[in-house]
Amino acid sequence: MKSCKPNAIHTLRSFLLFLLSALCILISSSGIAQSPISEYLDDGEFYEKKNILKVNASSLIIGNLPILYERAVSPFISVEAGAGIILPWYVNELSQLFIHEPIITKPTGGYSFSGELRFFPFTEAPEEFYMGLLYRHRDYKQDDQRIIFTDIVMNTGRQVPVGEVLMLEYGWGIGFRFIAAPDIVTEAMDEFDSFQLVISANLKLGFKF
């Protein structure tokens, strides 16, 4: 019994210490929660969400389904990267409305990837008005042949928050397209322009996190 007593005191002391620490943590955490200025600092994590996962609805119309990821890398700069699949349909793009005989008619598959550097001159990235330089690669399969579009486009647009987490992006761009068709014989390729003007319109829906 004698040897038990110091142990009991020790246990009691440890328990009291634990209680005291827990109380301290409780008090300090409630202190943070009840900070007199927390309501002024609540900006709905406005700029804490630096990432957007999005789909390009306008791209879907022309038979390309890319999944895009955008991340703000500095207060004024963001980077967008995407990869997608080519769907079995193709609708002429804005710039190709003036071309009588488009090279892509009935794609059977393929893939795409893109990268864009964006600058937000007025607000913190990735919100509101931006200007961007886009590099996009589309590799179409058509009649067992490959046709590659490489676009370099200057984009401009707006990313607008819809509620707390959704983002709507709209904009347009102008640039150049380089067309390569490694499987088509040169004579046949001559019927098409290997260098074209690109005018693009973008409508994207995203999820901010």
């Binding site: 202190g31 943070i32 007199p36 200025i37 927390s38 609540d42 900006d43 607000t123 913190e124």
Partner: protein, 527 residues
């Protein structure tokens, strides 16, 4: 034999006498320990002073540090100021010592609320940690979520530190009317009154230059109002006037005092409140434009009666303008004046207006201008390279002592030449101490100027070990005494006058640095 012993003794005594004559005998220097710091770790401001010593702030790569030095100028504490709560970082807006306490001001741009909030909290002088008593004291409504136009906060203390003014500039579009707001607090930072003002001028046509609060908590705003277009000159005439807006009775009463000198251009003006309960406004004017000055103006307004007590203008005169010029330039200037042509002083900024106890004031100005110089060099292979240099000129100081009736008691020019390249004038300009009836100007100088008597060539200050930190005493009669404080090479530091500060009626804290060496010193002036 006796002659042989006597000669070296005479030479030695003469040398010691000459040496001691060069150095200031009216000021005592107490040096702090030499500190080794990173080159980027440089002093920003001296923010507080008490019996324990003084507090300074430093900024290092966007981080703000606060440090305490004891009366022996030894660093006793240093801490990074983390102004953050729940992961939300606030922007540092400054530290002010009010009623013996250090107050930390910070702001937060809330894009969700479209507001720019200002907060204040005390700073523990022992731990240098912000206390948990933070409170919101002002807010600016944002029109757009535009970062570069989030408004701006300014803080001013009354002369006796009994009142604190928070001024804020609201972002507005060009065609809208100019708006601003003021909050006045007592010395415990309890709000006394606040006012939001919409002026009858478009945003672009009114520019607030100064804001002041007096010992009673009345607020004075001085600004420039342009007519129709933001141009300084129209048809050869000034297109602007200065205005002082005086808010009293807790902001309920407002009186506007226009300051304009018909046919003359006010180039710079300052505002202060003297101990006779008068608004004191003084500045420089020109006949030609805003690049040069030909005289000074002085205006006092009785705060209680709201009546103008004194209003005067006075040309500097050719003797003052020709002071400190080389003989050749002086002769040329005098010839020009004799022909009846306007002779003006080029590019002077009004640095400070020091109110006199009798209702007069002392205006202190400095010549400052920047030049851009592009040099083209061609190498042996014929390739051309271009280099651009930014040249910063901080030259003569002018001191104009104005009597309460508006007449000029005296004016004097302190010869100084500080032309440096690509350094933003880091070691240039001057520090000012007002001790009793004397003014002390502390700056870096070329040792060859130590015996300068107000005429002839001035030598340019160079950032080398030979550079001298000098003090020029201007007494109540306008008499100048130029003495050396120390040579840069002897203490391994060059003074940075712009951050030195008078901390008591007769003490100045001096800060110097060179490469990684930093050092503080206390100058104690004879009272």
């Amino acid at each position: 034999m006796q002659k042989l012993i006597l000669l070296p003794a005479i030479i030695l005594i003469s040398a010691i006498t000459a040496f001691s004559q060069k150095y200031a005998d009216f000021v005592h220097i107490q040096w702090g320990e030499a500190l080794k710091e990173k080159k980027t770790n440089t002093l920003d401001d001296i923010v507080g002073y008490d019996d324990s010593g003084f507090f300074i702030t430093k900024s290092v790569k966007r981080k703000i540090f606060i440090e305490h030095f004891n009366q022996e100028l030894k660093k006793t504490n240093s801490r990074e100021l983390v102004i953050e709560e729940g992961g939300k970082k606030r922007l540092y807006q400054g530290i002010k010592q009010i009623n013996g306490e250090l107050y930390l001001f910070s702001s937060f741009l809330n894009q969700k609320h479209k507001k720019h909030y200002l907060f204040v909290q005390t700073l523990n002088k022992q731990t240098l940690l912000p206390e948990n008593d933070v409170k919101k004291i002002a807010e600016i409504e944002l029109q757009d979520r535009i970062f570069w136009n989030a408004g701006m906060y300014g803080i001013d203390l009354s002369r006796d530190s009994s009142h604190v003014l928070i001024y804020y500039d609201t972002p507005a579009h060009t065609a809208e009317n100019k708006t601003f707001g003021v909050h006045v607090f007592d010395k415990e930072m309890n709000e006394e009154w606040e006012k939001f003002v919409t002026l009858p001028y478009e945003e672009d046509l009114f520019e607030v230059e100064r804001f002041e609060v007096d010992n009673e908590g009345n607020v004075y705003i001085m600004g420039i109002a342009f007519k129709q277009k933001r141009k300084e000159k129209r048809n050869g005439q000034p297109n602007f006037i200065y205005e002082v807006l005086a808010y009293s009775d807790q902001g309920e009463s407002m009186v506007k005092y226009p300051i304009s000198l018909p046919g003359k251009f006010i180039t710079d003006a300052q505002l202060t409140i003297n101990n006779k309960k008068q608004i004191v406004c003084g500045g420089f004017y020109s006949e030609e434009g805003t690049w040069s000055i030909i005289g000074s103006f002085f205006l006092t307004v009785n705060i209680d009666t709201k009546e103008v007590a004194t209003s005067s203008t006075k040309e500097f005169g050719i003797d003052f303008i020709a002071q400190n010029l080389t003989k050749h330039k002086e002769a040329k200037t005098r010839r020009k004046a004799e022909k009846g042509k306007d002779v003006e002083l080029y590019k002077y900024d009004l640095h400070k207006i020091v109110p006199r106890s009798d209702g007069g004031a002392v205006l202190i100005g400095e010549q400052y201008f920047m030049q851009v110089s592009t040099t083209t060099t061609t190498d042996a292979s014929g390739r051309m390279t271009y280099s651009t240099d930014y040249i910063f000129n901080y030259n003569d100081i002018i001191v104009i002592n104005i009597n309460p009736d508006g007449t000029i008691a005296w004016n004097t020019k302190i010869g100084k030449e500080q032309t440096t390249k690509n350094d933003l004038g880091f070691y240039s300009s001057f520090a000012l101490a007002v001790v009793d009836d004397n003014l002390y100007f502390i700056f870096n100088d070329n040792p060859k100027n130590l015996m300068y008597n107000g005429s002839g060539k001035l030598y340019n200050f160079r950032k080398d070990p030979d550079a001298l930190t000098v003090v020029v005493k201007v007494d109540k009669t306008g008499e100048q005494t130029r003495k050396a404080l120390f040579a840069a090479g002897l203490k391994d530091v060059l003074t940075r006058p712009k951050v030195c500060e008078q901390v008591s009626s007769h003490e100045v804290i001096l800060y110097g640095e060179r490469k990684k060496d930093q050092r503080l010193a206390r100058l104690v002036f004879d009272e």
